[in-house]
Point group: C2
Chain length 243, copies 2
Amino acid sequence: MTKQLKNIKPVDTGSLVDKVEVRLLAFFKENNLKPGDAIPKELDFAESLGVSRTVVREALLRLRTLGLVESKKHRGMILKQPDIINNFERIMDPTLLGENTLKQLFEFRLILEMGMADFLFENRTQKDMDELEEIVETGEATDTGKIRFTLDKEVAFHGKLYQISKNETLQRFQGLLLPVFEYVYLKETENTDLDEYHYTTGTFVTHRMLLDNLKIGTPETFRNAMRRHLEPHFDHILKKGQP
Amino acid sequence: MTKQLKNIKPVDTGSLVDKVEVRLLAFFKENNLKPGDAIPKELDFAESLGVSRTVVREALLRLRTLGLVESKKHRGMILKQPDIINNFERIMDPTLLGENTLKQLFEFRLILEMGMADFLFENRTQKDMDELEEIVETGEATDTGKIRFTLDKEVAFHGKLYQISKNETLQRFQGLLLPVFEYVYLKETENTDLDEYHYTTGTFVTHRMLLDNLKIGTPETFRNAMRRHLEPHFDHILKKGQP
DNA sequence: TTCATTAAATATGTATAACATAATACAAAA
DNA sequence: TTTTGTATTATGTTATACATATTTAATGAA
């Protein structure tokens, strides 16, 4: 093992693009540029920073990828209101994410559904309730017990809930989590008989009961109902830790 | 207004880089490449796809920015397990996010804290409780009523809660939300006298009470306590919609 | 003058060639 | 065996040229 020398620090080995990216961000801040404002052209940056256009271009490309900058083709670039969610979409591929991340994202979803009750009660409209009613009815009518259909019903019902929250960021986030959810859900139900929960425990809460609760209940009662509705998932994910 | 011609589709105006990015992703999938695997070099891609190295390089740079690919300097590139959270960090700047997004992110945080109860009770350890105890004590000892200190206490206490959840993704997400939270919190408390809530409503729940609840309560009681603890924020954000 | 067309200027998009640099492997020397 | 030198290789960086679409200005016909 090589000995670590003292009184000598490693030289800066970071790439030019890294540095330029930082300088660009600093430039935006210093000049107090806001979304919508135009930014200087690539060549001007290149000259001022003393690097090639390529380097500036690559740094700008990063910011574009992050959604911080938008390039109007052949015209110039402007600062953009960064789209938080957009970047996730390209990489949220369950097959590329690790087991651990998947589990945490699944937990994340459970947390969201448990926590959104107040916003549901605050923002629900009659139209929302009617639509939810229809979703529940359709679900009950087509109750074949097949897992695939069960999943579709789940997605439709819970997706509608997110919609009712009227929080667009939350909604889009749920859209991202959906593939993860389906992925985990299908794996989870592989060896589990959901009917066991549905019909034997007696405490299982159906979509119908959740809907009724949303009509006449309170955030507090709804949370408790939701907790019991999600019981199988909680059971599954909490047991997973202990062998 | 120009009439829309039939039987003729607009030409593909998307950039080459866009197309190459898609092709690269498809390539990874088709060849079943997993994180850690090496990928062909830029020039090989360029030749096979019939475009310049520049284009391939820009497409790869995007994937690198998204964290899907890692470049070993001067050696080659490998697929990487994408880091969901990392991309947020660079753009999560409250001064660049719109009013509406900020509000939604603040709501998001409320939802998380309301929803995480089960995981707190499941994963808490004695060590966690001791540390939380100390945080609460320090908070009580330095209760000066100054908003800045109040904020620090909030951050310390609630940050510890996220830690107890043992969900790393959640924790890092909260880390991202922190600047947003502070930003909104300070604006929110500008014109509000928090003491009003603390001392007059009578139902306000302190950190001490939350801690006690976490010791001897259940997820259900904890959620109710947390809801009352967050009451000022809920009030503020829910009232905001109506003038 | 008014309107349509043309032309010039401009900034990004793409292509090509060349060299710099660092990681690695392997050979040569101590 | 250990160190040092060297060739190889893929990315990092620079430079230059051209393509293309948008804007602006100029031009010319009614």
